[in-house]
């Protein structure tokens, strides 16, 4: 399984192809899309900045944690960086497991863990300004 981070548009089916196989009866995916509003403000674009080398390590740690917790589970994470307009797919995660309950749980864990620990930042652009998300303003 390979993880990716980069400025290229994401193919939402690519991570599914990475994880699927005859040993897994369930493949679940999560697609994150740039939303046109956040906390009551109109968002005209998001610029994603990343520490890509570390982000790939975090993705691999997420995959390992999932495999340890849900045996037979594979996870693939593809994340976009750079300038993204509303509606653009910014992250796709696929989880494959022998059974569906584990695939759903693993996929949910993966996106939450990514949001907590992957060194990826959002700079939100509004009609009248911009700010880094998460700085508590």
């Amino acid at each position: 399984v390979s993880h990716r981070i980069g400025p290229e548009p994401l193919d939402v089916s690519a991570p599914l192809r990475e994880v699927e196989g005859p040993d897994c009866g369930a493949v679940v995916s999560f697609t994150g899309v740039v939303r046109a509003s956040n906390r009551g403000k109109q968002v005209v674009a998001l610029d994603y900045e990343a520490y890509p080398e570390m982000a790939l390590k975090v993705f691999a740690q997420i995959e390992q944690a999932a495999a340890a917790r849900w045996p037979g589970t594979r996870i693939a994470i593809h994340h976009r960086v750079g300038h993204c307009a509303p509606g653009v797919v910014s992250v796709v995660i696929a989880a494959a497991s022998p059974h569906r309950a584990d695939a759903f749980d693993a996929c949910r864990m993966a996106i939450e863990q990514l949001k907590a620990d992957a060194p990826i930042w959002k700079h939100e652009k509004y009609p009248d300004g911009s700010e880094w998300v998460g700085m508590g303003s």
């Binding site: 749980d105 939450e112 863990q113 949001k115 930042w121 700079h123 998460g134 700085m135």
Partner: protein, 102 residues
């Protein structure tokens, strides 16, 4: 010894650069490197309480000793922390253990 410091997002803007090499005494910790970085770029100081640190691409507390050639990254809050409390069963041991203060 020489340590490479990486600045991202709000920390990059406040430092006015994305990376630099700091000359530090042998055995210097992350905390000492932060002091040097804040002395050079005072606008970083108000951010310190919000930062996590990574040494050679792993989250590390401020007490971590650096070595010649270490890569120290200042990690401002990442994009999705806000909604996490609602996500049951998704503990984040790395985040909790490594959230050191300078």
């Amino acid at each position: 010894m020489r340590v490479t410091v990486l600045y991202f997002a709000a920390a990059r803007e406040r430092a006015g650069r994305s990376s630099e090499v700091l000359e530090l005494p042998e055995g210097a910790t992350v905390a000492l490197a932060l002091e040097a970085a804040c002395a050079a770029h005072p606008a970083l100081r108000p951010l310190l309480d919000k930062l996590r640190f990574a040494v050679d691409q792993s989250f590390s507390p401020a007490s971590t000793a650096l070595r010649e050639g270490s890569e120290l990254a200042l990690i401002p809050p990442v994009s999705g922390g806000v909604e996490l409390a609602a996500a049951a069963g998704c503990e984040s041991p790395a985040a909790g253990a490594a959230r050191g203060r300078a």
